[in-house]
Symmetry: C2
């Protein structure tokens, strides 16, 4: 038995999210179907976490276990041929038996992309949220810095969230200004449901001058979803990277019983 | 009666080309349907030329005539709301009665985009042809320069072409190298069926060292489609710009009877 880690990118536009669902086109479902056909086994994919319908990834991580004799270095090429064009495997490697795409993850970085040009660029529409306004990126940066640290992020998660423990740690939040867009990059040890999209909606309101940067402090303290800004649409959101502690002995072969 | 010129951009991936066809999703058909509903007239769209299924545009030009009292400066906003997200109107202006999107066009610029990174980037797949190879852009540039001038381009047009006069003038051909892509930009007074895609396929072969740059001279002279390289796929092709002589009096109102 081998455990294999995949780093994948996808254009989430035409998927009903990551998680397998009957009769829906999902990332997990598509990968499982292709890998099961390839190996002749019933492959189960474990992702670092779900992404919602319409959300993209450049560095989603998942793993699966298999007894297939296919050499690990062949998967990259084979999967590129078998998968639809909106999922691309970036890398593929054997990992120790105790690796787990979700449980072993230490941090994740998401990027939210806002296109600010007057007329939306036709090549960007699938990956950016269009808001044709000048944003005060200095104020947004200041607001983002107030999110750093360990807090109860109830105000920044969907009211539908059933999870009890809403304490998360944000390690970094950067606002990057490009010629026609503003990128919000957030790194944390974990994210609640809709958390990055609500952070994006709130920082956007700071950027437009609807809120002051300092309001972030009160929003966090309130633990009340209605105090934060809108949930921004899924198309601007990208899972950029998932961080793991490097395994000690990655050069040798692992045996997973 | 007013004549209105539109500059439009589209993601051609999900269209069966520019030209109206029964029961197919086309650019012309979509524009005509939306404009006819808007004006209550039967609007006919004239484009600067057709683009094939899967081919994109950043600066396609078309015109239509209407008696609608809608002010010209409102179309931009209204059409952005009514059109599907894969067609975007970039500009809209009233033009003299004798303007014709196709007949008045002096030149066109197309760009062919080749992505050369090892693994295709998920955000580029709709607009680039992926060829994971290092290309000799100097040789490609040299070959491109041999296309400049007025020639019979029979070797560079689809064998299916019925048009008799295959003499066209190429004004410019530039090879642009970006970090993970090569862009081929060609400007000419007109292009034959598949011409830019065959130029792209041929210059690609020069870039890979399969042909020498000098071979362009013999290919042109042969007037034989089989002598040139392959027709590259539609997804890498973009109609960038259509050039017109500026009308003399664009500030005043035109009256088209």
């Amino acid at each position: 038995m081998k455990k294999i880690k995949l780093v994948i990118a996808y254009d989430g536009t035409d998927f009903s999210g990551f998680q397998r669902q009957p009769d829906k086109r999902t990332i997990q479902g598509t990968l499982e179907k292709v890998l099961s056909q390839l190996t002749g086994e019933e492959i189960q994919i474990y992702g670092s976490g779900r992404t919602d319908a319409g959300v993209h990834a450049l560095g989603q991580v998942c793993h699966f276990s298999t007894n297939s004799p296919i050499p690990v270095d062949k998967y990259l090429y084979i999967l590129r041929r078998l998968l639809p064009r909106d999922i691309v495997v970036q890398s593929c490697e054997e990992v120790p038996c105790d690796f787990h795409a979700r449980k072993s993850a230490y941090w994740k970085t998401y990027r939210y992309q806002i296109e600010t040009s007057r007329i939306p660029h036709i090549f960007m529409r699938r990956f950016y949220t269009h808001r044709p306004f000048v944003l005060d990126t200095k104020a947004m940066q200041e607001a983002g810095q107030l999110l750093l640290g360990t807090y109860d992020f109830t105000s920044f998660c969907s009211a539908k969230t059933v999870i009890e423990d809403r304490v998360r740690t944000i390690y970094d939040c950067q606002i990057l200004k490009e010629s026609n867009s503003i990128l919000i990059e957030v790194t944390g040890n974990g994210f609640l449901y809709n958390m990055v999209r609500i952070i994006a909606g709130t920082l956007y309101e700071v950027g437009r001058g609807i809120r002051s940067a300092q309001e972030i402090v009160q929003i966090l303290a309130a633990k009340d979803r209605t105090k934060a800004g809108p949930t921004f649409p899924p198309e601007g959101l990208i899972l950029l990277q998932v961080g793991y502690v490097p395994w000690q002995d990655s050069a040798t072969h692992f045996s997973c019983k």
